[in-house]
């Protein structure tokens, strides 16, 4: 036991994940009894999101001292997100057109359930980013309105001058450290939570479904690999001249944790650490971009999710034999792309739909 606790967390997570997969294969359907432990872990992580994001974004902004640098960092990062998601959507469409992952899906699609749809208004959607009642936004966990409110408060504090609001500044910095510490404790449970989650996933997952959607998963993985191994390194090299291999060596703890938990927000504290200690970036930049980036994940703005969407769509088009060419694909998606930013994760909507 003592030896186990002495192992680095990443080794513990890897062992927990492996045991989870083995248990899932052995237990089969019975693995569902492990599910509550996995759910507990995920709920604890979700509990952290709002206070962690608010405190670290505020603390990051307060470090910047003036609104100009906030604009530089925030604007630069937004521009980066826009560029990468456009590149990703192009890759998504091209790969979907080549591989046609929707082939062979006909039988499954015929057994799908019908889902209710709702009306959608673009202007109302943009307006919904501004919270009319911050507590309502907090209660519903609408992250984009919460972030907008937080950034406004941070900018107001900077314009007042940090020396005029020393107490609030201290409270924010201390709260940010409290939340990071709490996150650290919860992350210690990761090996056990991940064991339960993986056992349940493997045990209860229908293998029929997996083989049927195999093409889709393969196509998706190829697109992700292109983004990870080509797009990011080229962007990094071109814009900064830094060594991409060294970059990946530096960030692997974040990637490992993201891979095993599938939870971006849980990776925030790890990424903050990685930025500071491995990449040599101060909390001025990372304190803002890391929580922001991890939260807009919910907003379906991200490159890889975007490319995933293109797949879904192409996948359906293949099924329904609607003639489509690259241009139509790309233009329509780009349009929808902008309007979809800020809405909640489609994943959660899928679950609401059931």
């Amino acid at each position: 036991m003592k030896r186990w606790l002495k192992l680095p967390l990443y080794t513990q997570i890897a062992i927990g994940g492996l045991l989870g997969i083995i248990l899932g294969i052995i237990l089969g359907d019975n693995a569902k009894y492990l599910e509550p432990f996995g759910t507990l872990f995920i709920r604890l992580l979700q509990m952290l999101i709002i206070p962690l994001v608010i405190t670290s974004i505020l603390a990051g902004i307060l470090k910047m001292k003036d609104a100009k640098s906030v604009g530089k960092v925030g604007g630069g990062f937004l521009f980066y997100l826009v560029i990468t998601s456009l590149i990703a959507s192009t890759i998504g469409v091209i790969i979907a057109l080549i591989l046609k992952p929707g082939k062979g899906m006909e039988s499954i699609l015929d057994h799908g359930e019908t889902v209710e749809s709702e009306e959608f208004n673009f202007v109302d959607h943009f307006l919904s980013w501004v919270p009319s009642n911050i507590f309502e936004a907090l209660g519903n966990m609408d992250m984009l309105p919460i972030i907008i409110f937080t950034v406004i408060i941070g900018l107001v504090m900077i314009s007042l001058g940090v020396e005029k609001v020393p107490m609030t500044t201290n409270i924010i910095n201390e709260s940010a450290n409290i939340m990071l510490k709490l996150t650290e404790y919860i992350i210690k449970l990761a090996p056990y939570g991940i064991l339960a989650l993986l056992a349940n996933l493997i045990g209860t997952f229908g293998s029929d479904m997996l083989t049927a959607v195999f093409n889709f998963v393969i196509a998706d993985s190829i697109a992700l690999a292109i983004i990870l191994l080509l797009v990011y390194p080229i962007l990094l090299k071109l814009t900064t001249g830094l060594n991409p291999i060294q970059f990946y060596k530096n960030i692997y703890p974040s990637m490992l944790f993201a891979f095993t938990t599938s939870t971006s927000s849980a990776t925030i504290p790890i990424s903050l650490q990685v930025s500071k200690k491995n990449l040599g970036i101060s909390e001025k930049t990372a304190g803002f971009t890391i929580p922001f980036g991890a939260t807009v994940n919910y907003g379906w703005f991200r490159g890889s999710d975007w490319c995933h969407f293109c797949f879904c769509s192409k996948f359906i088009w293949d099924r329904y034999y609607i003639g489509v060419n690259f241009e139509i694909c790309f233009i329509r998606f780009s349009f929808i792309h902008w309007s979809s930013w800020g809405s909640r994760s489609w994943h959660s909507h899928v679950h609401c739909a059931f």
């Binding site: 650290e184 998706d220 903050l272 970036i281 490159g303 890889s304 929808i336």
Partner: protein, 72 residues
């Protein structure tokens, strides 16, 4: 949201439950790529605003422990 988009694009909604079923499998990869992307963007912005220490960036064989000291 996806429901709205699928409707807007005139696509069948039948696909949604199916995608929900395979979502856990593809979500791991997406989260990893997104996190790497966030750090990539952070690095680019930091380097261009002179907030990146090249010496620390280029240090080989760093061991990151998970103990969180005061970050802010």
């Amino acid at each position: 949201m996806s429901i709205v988009l699928f409707e807007a694009l005139g696509m069948p909604l039948l696909i949604i439950p199916i995608l929900a079923a395979i979502w856990p499998v593809i979500d791991t990869g997406h989260t990893t790529v997104n996190i790497a992307g966030d750090l990539n963007g952070t690095t680019i912005v930091a380097k261009r605003t002179n907030d990146l220490d090249d010496k620390i960036f280029n240090t080989k064989n760093i061991k990151l422990n998970t103990e969180i000291k005061d970050v802010f």
